[in-house]
C-alpha cells in the first residue's frame, strides 16, 4: 500500500485540469471533496498558510509592478503556482532543506527567507543571495535542472553524518525533466536511497514550449518508475492536497517503513497563468484562452473559500490579514531599495582568501574611483 492511499480522495465529478488521477482534497468551491479529510493542520496553521498565500499573491503583483517601473530587473511571476509553493514549504520542518528555483519566491518565504532579501537580488544586489544562518535553504537555481543532483548530494551528506532527521526538498519545472541532471540526480537519489523529495512544478510550459512537446510521456510522475522511486501526482492548485502529499513524502523520507524507499517524485500539476518572465510575451506562442480552465482553480481563493466555509476566516480577519500583507511588502520594498553596496564587493567571496590578482584588481579599481568618481563609470561609451 502506498503512503498516499490514505489521503487520496474521491475525485470531483467533472474534473477539468488537472487530470483525474491527481490527488485533491478541496473542490474549487472550497468544499472538502467527498471522502477527503482535512490534513492535520490547526486553525491557526491554516490561517498562517492563508496569510502566506495572500502575501505571495500580492508580492507577485507588486514585483511585476516594480519591474515595469524599472525598479527591479527580470522577474519570474508565480501567479497560480503560489498554493503549491506555500504548501510544500509548510510540509517541511525547519531542519529540512529547501532547494528552490528562480520562480519559487513563495516557497522560499514560507521556509524562512524574507521578501526583502528576495527583492534585493531582483534589484541587482547579490547581497540578497546571502541566506541567513537560521534558514535551511540554498540560493535560487537558474541553470535548469542543475539543482537535482546537488539536492540529492545534500541529503546524502546528512545521512553520512547521521543526521537522519533532515530531508531535502528540491523544486524544478516540467522543462527541467528533459535535462540530463534530472535523470542523473533521481537515479542517484534512488540508488543511495537518500531522504529527498523532488517536486516537479508542472506548470505546462517551459517558456514557449508546451508540456506535450517537452516529453512524449503523458505525465511526469510516471518517470518515477524508471528510477524505482515512488511517484505521486497532486493538484498543485489545491494547497491542502499539496500539503498532505508533501508532508507524507517528508515523513517517509525521514522515517520510511520497512522496505519503503525514501525519495519521492511529486508532480504538482499547475498552470503558469502569467508570462514566463517579465521579459517574455506569451502572445507570441499561446492563445489567450489557453489555460482558462485553470483560472477558476485559483489556489488563494480555493483555500479562502474553505476557510470561510469552516468559519475559520471572516471578513474582519481577512481585512486584517490584507492590511498586514500590504505593510509587510511596503517595508520589504523600502528596505530592499535602501540596500547599500560597494563595487569592492565584487571581489569578496570569490575565495576564502582573495588571490594576489584579485587584490591588485581591486586596488586598481579603487584608484580609478578615487581619481574619477563613481559617476565616471556610468559612461559606457556607446
Amino acid at each position: 500500500m502506498s503512503t498516499y492511499d490514505e489521503i487520496e480522495s474521491t475525485q470531483s465529478p467533472e474534473p477539468t485540469s488537472p487530470p483525474e488521477d491527481a490527488v485533491q482534497i478541496l473542490d474549487t468551491d472550497g468544499s472538502l471533496l467527498p471522502g477527503a479529510k482535512r490534513p492535520d493542520l490547526t486553525d491557526e496553521e491554516l490561517l498562517e498558510m492563508y496569510e502566506e498565500l495572500v502575501l505571495a499573491r500580492r508580492f507577485d503583483e507588486r514585483a511585476t509592478g516594480l519591474q515595469r517601473q524599472g525598479r527591479i530587473s527580470t522577474y519570474a511571476p508565480m501567479r497560480g503556482q503560489e498554493g503549491s509553493q506555500v504548501a510544500t514549504s509548510f510540509a517541511l520542518d525547519a531542519a529540512d532543506w529547501l532547494v528552490p528555483t528562480y520562480r519559487d519566491h513563495a516557497a522560499k518565504h514560507a521556509h524562512g527567507r524574507s521578501y526583502e532579501s528576495l527583492l534585493q537580488h531582483l534589484a541587482g544586489y547579490r547581497e540578497g543571495y546571502a541566506v541567513p544562518d537560521d534558514v535551511n535553504a540554498l540560493p535560487e537555481y537558474i541553470p535548469i535542472g542543475t539543482q537535482v543532483p546537488q539536492a540529492m548530494g545534500l541529503a546524502w551528506g546528512f545521512t553520512m553524518q547521521d543526521q537522519h532527521d533532515r530531508a531535502v526538498l528540491c523544486h524544478f519545472g516540467d522543462g527541467a525533466t528533459s535535462t540530463g541532471d534530472f535523470h542523473e540526480g533521481l537515479n542517484f537519489a534512488a540508488v543511495y536511497d537518500v531522504p529527498s523529495i523532488f517536486v516537479c512544478n508542472n506548470n505546462q510550459w517551459a517558456i514557449s514550449m508546451p508540456f506535450e512537446s517537452q516529453t512524449a510521456t503523458e505525465t511526469i510522475v510516471e518517470k518515477a518508475d524508471a528510477y524505482g522511486v515512488e511517484g505521486v501526482r497532486v493538484d498543485g492548485t489545491d494547497p491542502l492536497a499539496v500539503y498532505a502529499v508533501t508532508r507524507a513524502a517528508v515523513q517517509k523520507a525521514k522515517h520510511p517503513a520497512e522496505g519503503e524507499r525514501r525519495p519521492t517524485l511529486i508532480e504538482s500539476c499547475q498552470y503558469r497563468l502569467g508570462a514566463h518572465s517579465t521579459a517574455d510575451d506569451p502572445s507570441a506562442y499561446r492563445d489567450e484562452d489557453d489555460g482558462e480552465d485553470w483560472e477558476d482553480r485559483d489556489p488563494v481563493e480555493r483555500l479562502e473559500r474553505y476557510l470561510y466555509r469552516e468559519e475559520i476566516l471572516d471578513d474582519d480577519l481577512a481585512d486584517e490579514i490584507a492590511d498586514r500583507v500590504e505593510d509587510c511588502l511596503a517595508t520589504a520594498i523600502e528596505r530592499a531599495e535602501a540596500t547599500e553596496t560597494d563595487p569592492g564587493r565584487m571581489f569578496e567571496h570569490v575565495y576564502e582568501e582573495p588571490t594576489d590578482r584579485l587584490r591588485e584588481q581591486l586596488a586598481d579599481l579603487d584608484g580609478l574611483r578615487e581619481r574619477h568618481g563613481d559617476e565616471a563609470f556610468e559612461e559606457v561609451g556607446e
Binding site: 530587473s73 527580470t74 528562480y102 537580488h121 534589484a123 541587482g124 544586489y125 547579490r126 537558474i142 541553470p143 535548469i144 535542472g145 522543462g175 527541467a176 528533459s178 535535462t179 540530463g180 541532471d181 517551459a206 517558456i207 514557449s208 514550449m209 512537446s213 517537452q214 516529453t215 521579459a279 517574455d280 507570441a284 506562442y285 553596496t341 563595487p343 564587493r345 565584487m346 571581489f347 570569490v350 588571490t355 590578482r357 584579485l358 584588481q361 581591486l362 579599481l365 580609478l368 574619477h372 563613481d374 565616471a376 563609470f377 556610468e378 559612461e379 559606457v380 561609451g381 556607446e382
Partner: protein
C-alpha cells in the same frame, strides 16, 4: 574533401554537394552599392539564417524557443512560419542533446544551426562540444566531418539575472577543432552566420547580446559571407593598436574618437571578430605600425583571449613595441548583478586609462 555522407552509405544519395556548399559569396563590402536594408545586429543574424535556410535544404535551426516564439531575443523570428517546424525546430530543454543531436544531424548530411539560449546555459553541452564536435574530424582521420553551427548570445550589460552575462570564449577558443567568431556589427552578423553555416567545420558564433539592438546600419540585401579568420580594422590609426571584439568594440571606438579629439592620440581599433582562428597577420601588422597596444575584453583577465593576443604580439612584433601591452578586462570574479555591472565591464573610463598607459609608458 570527404564528408560525413561519404562515410555513411545510406546518407550518400541525399547528401548535399560539399564543394558548392563551401563556396562563398564574397562581395567587397566597402565598395558595395547594391540594395541595402537597415538592420540591427540581431536582425543581421536573423537575415543570415533566413538566407541560408532558403539556399540549402539541409540547413535546420534548432534550440529552445527558437520556433513558435522566434527565440527569446527574436533572432529566429518568423523563420518557423517561413520554413516550417521541420526546419526551425523547438527542442526540449536539454543543451547536451541539442548539440549532441546536431552532431548526429551533421554526420547524416544535414547542416544544423543550434542555439544555446545563453552562453551561461551552454555548459551542459560542453562535453559534446569539446569531446566530439571539436574532435570528430581528427578522431576519424577526416572520414567524418561536422559542418555545424552553435550560436550563443554572450556578455553582460543588460541587467540580466545570474548566469545570463558570461563571456566564456576563452574555453572554446582553446579547443583545437572548433572555430569561434563574434560579430560586432549587423553586417558582420549576417556575413559571419552565412560563413559559419557554409564552413565544413563546427563554428561557434558568439553574439554580443548587449549589441543586439544597440544600433542599426545599412546591410547588403543579397547573401554574402564574411570570411572566418579575418579581423576587421574598424578605425585606422598610427599611435596605438586597440584590439577587441564583441560588445567592447563600441566603447573602444568611442574612446578612440575621444582620444583623437582631446589628446591628439590616433588609435587603431581592430575588431578581431574571429577568435579562432586568430588573424595573426592583422595583429602583427598593426603593432608593427603603431608600436603600442592594448587589449580589451569583458571576460575575466586571467587566461582570457587577451593573453593570447599579447603572446602573439610578443612572438610577431616584440621588437616593434615601445611599451608593455596593457589589458582592460573583466575582473577575475563572477560578473556581478546589475548594480555593479558598470564597474565590472570594461567601459570608456577604463579603456581610456588602458590606452593612455600603453601610450604614455
Amino acid at each position: 574533401m570527404s564528408t560525413a555522407a561519404d562515410g555513411l552509405e545510406s546518407a550518400g544519395d541525399d547528401a548535399v554537394d560539399q564543394e558548392s556548399d563551401v563556396a562563398t559569396d564574397t562581395i567587397d563590402l566597402d565598395a558595395y552599392d547594391g540594395p541595402t536594408e537597415s538592420l540591427s545586429l540581431v536582425e543581421g543574424v536573423r537575415d543570415g539564417l533566413e538566407l541560408e535556410l532558403a539556399r540549402d535544404d539541409s540547413v535546420v535551426v534548432l534550440g529552445e524557443d527558437v520556433g513558435t516564439n522566434g527565440g527569446v531575443f527574436r533572432a529566429t523570428e518568423h523563420l518557423q512560419d517561413e520554413f516550417g517546424p521541420n526546419r526551425v525546430i523547438d527542442t526540449p530543454l536539454a543543451e547536451s542533446a541539442i548539440v549532441g543531436s546536431s552532431i548526429g544531424l551533421a554526420l547524416s548530411g544535414m547542416r544544423p544551426v543550434a542555439e544555446m539560449q545563453f552562453m551561461g546555459f551552454a555548459s551542459p553541452a560542453y562535453d559534446q562540444l569539446v569531446s566530439h564536435a571539436a574532435a570528430m574530424r581528427s578522431r576519424s582521420h577526416g572520414q567524418f566531418t561536422l559542418p555545424m553551427v552553435v550560436r550563443m548570445p554572450y556578455g553582460g550589460g543588460i541587467a540580466a539575472p545570474e548566469h545570463h552575462s558570461e563571456s566564456r570564449e576563452a574555453a572554446l577558443v582553446h579547443e583545437p577543432g572548433l572555430k569561434v567568431v563574434t560579430p560586432s556589427t549587423p553586417t558582420d552578423a549576417k556575413g559571419l552566420i552565412a560563413a559559419a553555416v557554409r564552413d565544413p567545420d563546427p563554428v561557434i558564433v558568439l553574439e554580443p547580446k548587449r549589441l543586439y539592438r544597440a544600433f542599426r546600419e545599412d546591410v547588403p540585401e543579397e547573401p554574402y559571407t564574411v570570411p572566418i579568420g579575418e579581423a576587421s580594422v574598424r578605425r585606422e590609426g598610427e599611435d596605438v593598436s586597440l584590439f577587441t571584439w564583441g560588445a567592447s568594440t563600441q566603447p573602444a571606438l568611442a574612446v578612440a574618437e575621444d582620444l583623437a579629439a582631446e589628446n591628439g592620440i590616433d588609435v587603431e581599433v581592430v575588431d578581431l571578430r574571429s577568435l579562432s582562428p586568430l588573424d595573426i597577420d592583422t595583429i602583427a601588422e598593426s603593432v608593427q605600425k603603431t608600436g603600442r597596444a592594448a587589449v580589451v575584453h569583458e571576460a575575466p583577465k586571467t587566461a582570457g583571449v587577451g593573453a593570447e593576443v599579447v603572446a602573439t604580439i610578443n612572438e610577431e612584433a616584440l621588437y616593434y613595441l615601445e611599451a608593455p601591452v596593457t589589458r582592460v578586462t573583466g575582473f577575475d570574479a563572477p560578473v556581478p548583478l546589475s548594480t555593479l555591472e558598470d564597474f565590472y565591464l570594461p567601459q570608456a573610463l577604463r579603456i581610456r586609462e588602458g590606452v593612455l598607459e600603453a601610450v604614455e609608458a
